[in-house]
């Protein structure tokens, strides 16, 4: 029998204190923790249940931006009227994530903590080598089936794809992760694997995600999330793009543009090169398609996943043209 302690945190302070214990994990929606515990990947010594904490499930949208409590359910945020109006890409990313059952359980904070879907990571009984699970043990994915693995941000130690949808939209719009008083830009919150793929988020033991805030912007207001996959529902992205667009008064010159990618990289991937190439340019298909190719600079295929290098720029271009009213 695998024993662990279970404690229901009475307050955020209490949760922080309990989470400092060695081998502690927080339980929110449980959709990742229970899943990984069943696979034998997560083996917590202490489970700290934060689901009953009050005041962490708020969804507030003001002129400054959105404030999403860490315990807000994915489905509630997805369906929130103000989020849909001010941050359509966020709502769309949530709607296209997971399944209805999972969205009803999973929380915004937990969503940022979800782990990769790499089959080699998820199967410790069959594959001993996984640097993400066991630093220094190697990478069983290399040389294996890599159709869903990353082409961007990989390292010699890890090629696992970050599976997030919401996180892609958050990265595009410069969201901030609130760890109590410590605030981390979401792009910094997610870490490249480098030599330490076991460390995926910039969160320290004893820290608790309390909220995610997204600054309001014209680009966020005019945004979309486009997710491409073989199955229409309940599948991780082959490639996805969160895109926001702000046009000058002429309706065709790009004042601001945000582009982030999912399904192709080891972390939610902001495509700064695409943004830079398009800022100040006229919105028209050929320019957009040429610029979108820049997102794949430095991409490395692992065999089965070469198609992602072809696919991702097309997804970006379509999303930009769609939000610009040209597709």
């Amino acid at each position: 029998m695998r024993d662990f302690t279970y404690a229901r945190a009475a307050s955020v302070e209490d949760a922080r204190r309990l989470a400092q214990q060695s081998g502690a994990m927080l339980l929110a929606g449980g959709t990742t923790l229970l899943d990984l515990a069943k696979c034998g990947v997560a083996r917590p010594d202490h489970v700290v249940d934060i689901t009953h904490l009050k005041g962490l499930d708020a969804i507030e949208v003001t002129r400054e931006g959105a404030h999403l409590g860490a315990l807000a359910k994915m489905s509630h945020v997805a369906d929130d009227k103000a989020i849909r109006a001010e941050f359509p890409a966020v709502s769309e990313a949530l709607w296209q994530a997971a399944s209805a059952q999972l969205r009803n359980m999973a929380t915004i904070g937990g969503n940022l903590m979800q782990r990769t879907r790499c089959a080699y990571f998820r199967d410790p009984n069959s594959f001993a080598a996984c640097n993400k699970r066991q630093p220094g043990s190697g990478c069983a994915a290399r040389g294996g089936i890599t159709r869903n693995h990353a082409v961007l941000g990989t390292s010699s130690s890890c090629i696992a794809t970050n599976p997030g949808d919401l996180a892609v939209a958050l990265v595009a719009f410069d969201a901030i992760v609130h760890l109590g008083d410590r605030k981390v830009p979401v792009d910094d919150f997610f870490l490249l694997p480098g030599a330490t793929p076991d460390r995926e988020q910039a969160i320290e033991p004893g820290e608790v995600i309390t909220a995610v805030s997204i600054p309001a912007s014209a680009a966020a207001r005019r945004s979309t999330y486009l997710k491409v996959r073989d199955r229409q529902s309940y599948e991780f992205a082959a490639a996805s793009a969160a895109v926001g667009l702000d046009l000058e008064a002429d309706g065709r010159t790009i004042r601001d543009i945000r582009v982030a990618l999912g399904g192709v990289a080891t972390k939610p991937w902001r495509a700064h090169a695409v943004e830079k190439a398009l800022k100040g340019k006229t919105l028209e298909p050929e320019t957009v398609m040429r610029a979108s190719l820049l997102a794949m600079e430095g991409a490395i295929a692992q065999g089965d996943n070469h198609y992602k290098i072809d696919l991702a720029p097309r997804v970006i271009a379509r999303a930009i043209l769609k939000v610009g009213g040209l597709a």
Partner: protein, 769 residues
Amino acid sequence: MTPVAAKMKRGDSTDGGAASALGSRLSRIDGPAKIKGQARYGLEHHPANMAYAVIVQSTIPSGHIRAIDSKPAEAAPGVLLVITPDNVMPLKPITTWTGAPSSDKPYLALTREINFTGQHVAAVIAETFEQASEAAGLLRIDYEEKESIPSYDDPKSGAGNPLDAMAVAWGDAGRAFAEAPVRIEQTYRTPREYNVPIEPHGLVAEWQGDMLTVWEPSQWVNFMIHNYAEWYGLPDEKVRLISPYVGGGFGSKAFALGHGAIATMAAKMLNRPVKLAVTRPQTFTAFGGRPATRQTLSLGATKEGNLLSIVQKGANETSVDGVWVEPLASVTALMYATPNLSARQNIVPVNTVTPCALRAPGENPSAWGIECAIDELSYEVGIDPVAIRLLNYAEEDPHAKKPWSTRRLREAYEEGAKAFGWAKRNPKPRSMRDGHHLIGWGVAAGTYPVRRTAGEALVRIFADGRAEVASSGIDMGQGTYTILAQTAAEAIGMPVEQIEVKLGDSALPGAPVAGGSQLANLMTGAVHKAATAARDELIGLAINDPKSPFRELQANTLSIADGVISPPRGGESMSIAELLRRLGRDKIEVQRDTLPENANSAADKLATYNTITRMRSPTDGDYSLHAWCVHFIEVRVDEDFGTVRVSRVVSALDSGRLYNPKLAESQWKGGIIMGIGQALLEEGLVDPRQGRVINNNLGDYLIATNADIPDIEVISVGVPDFHASALGGKAVGELGIVGVAPAIANAVYHATGKRIRELPITLEKLLGD
């Protein structure tokens, strides 16, 4: 109404006439219990003092176990027993479903020899499932790995073993192909596909003395008790298997499997009930799914599109220690008239679990090949894909050279094409688009044989006005409970609500496998016979018993309707219940079987119910018996992303008479939905080094979701076929899937101009220019 429809008598409620219980669109009578959670499945049985078994599977594809250290597991809390190859109970060899002995050696459910990744190597039994699961991870297994053959694409696998006995040939196909004015030659492939029923496999086993009771989902109760009985050297009566509900099987729940041996022996060794639920990942190797197949088809034709020759060279994967044949010529040699044909097939042993039956084994991949190839030929000669199929229409069975009993395939093309609007189709690929979507229309035909085995049923009519039908045959969602109630209601003349049907228990009269799409036909036949005999007995009593008010009447003048017996010309009528009460009878009980009268001994019955040796082939007799279908499918392919969505399906199907059109339509649609998944999503991904199916869960092994399925229109073009079955039905359950994948691939070609000859049609196959 078209001329075709005007002539048609379907034998169902659409014919009008009497309020016939059989043929009406009754909803599933087991539905409410399932929706309310009141239907108890095998694994929900919970006897007192039950222990839990958890299986451990090998992590190497080939080799042997040097040693297993089970001490840490045995010392773990709650652990009662660890079974390994060192202490596994040798069981007696069983007789296979073909009636042949499996081996002359004892059956070992766990061995040190490893032939595939995911082979069962040990089991841990503990007081709780959690304790057993945790201890299962504590086994120390020392493997010595040998070189393995991961798939038949590995050069080490070679060409495999030819199946000469299955070769089909007429004319001189090689020469006719070589000399044909038009030739196409292509290879079509399907990957490993898995049954993944939502109810996982597993059982609860309990011994009481030498009597074994097993609660386990089953498609074939009588064969499975025979398996268990033979393993333990018992007569079949000493084993009872209870399977009232089955959450899907698709061919995978017909045999007692390794986990069944492990659970029953654990229950025996511990002398307490044991539950073993195979985990979802373990199901991918606890039994086999459909093997990978490949077939090279060479079609020779005239410039006008008349087939001159079909040459097929096929292969399917099998295991290194077992044989599974996926008959790839079953549709190839049946669908079209051709003067020359040659079909040969190899099986290629690789390090995998032995594959097994998955919905329409054989017909499914066979239709995938020929129905894509004929489409390619239609483009080669410039003829409409429906027209080329009608041009080469087989007026009789081209292989058996016998007339079809019924083949309403022409009507299927006609009705399906009309409902779909096929006449408006521009044959040119890439000729239809809607924004970024390239739209394509494809067609393909399918077929499934009518298999015939005898059955048996018990019918009781009680004095309280109810009746009961009993059989060991099962309902896995296809509607057996419902149609047997309808059959009995019609034969006796009772309201269907008054009929209770008991199924899936080996204590009830025997039945052959719920597979090969035969159960509905054979069980309606048996129930009709038994219920008619019960009615006759009732009428016999009515006219003979001194206490009966109908004493003076003739047998053939009484009528029974709605549970009421009426004399002719408006005399006093009386309910069945009232009559039985007046006669002082608590019930009438009749058991009948449909075995031949000269071969219905106890031994004949056993052979009928626990082997397939008494199953009649579709060409045994004067006719060739098959069900037929045509699928018309529209796809939308994103021109930039390569994603394929099915946007419209119209299928016309000839399954003969439908005993319950609502349930038959649901079965057809289920098959079509599974076919959409097969065409676009399903593929077992096997690690090339380690042999593991890495997408061994329902998050990663993709089957179609609701969002992937458009409205599906199904049209019945069948008529009662009394050569095929007692009450006129043909195959339903396995028919619907056959031909769906090629119809989609053909539609994808029409949309994009790209031929995808390897399933599934995933986006990367369409991405390139």
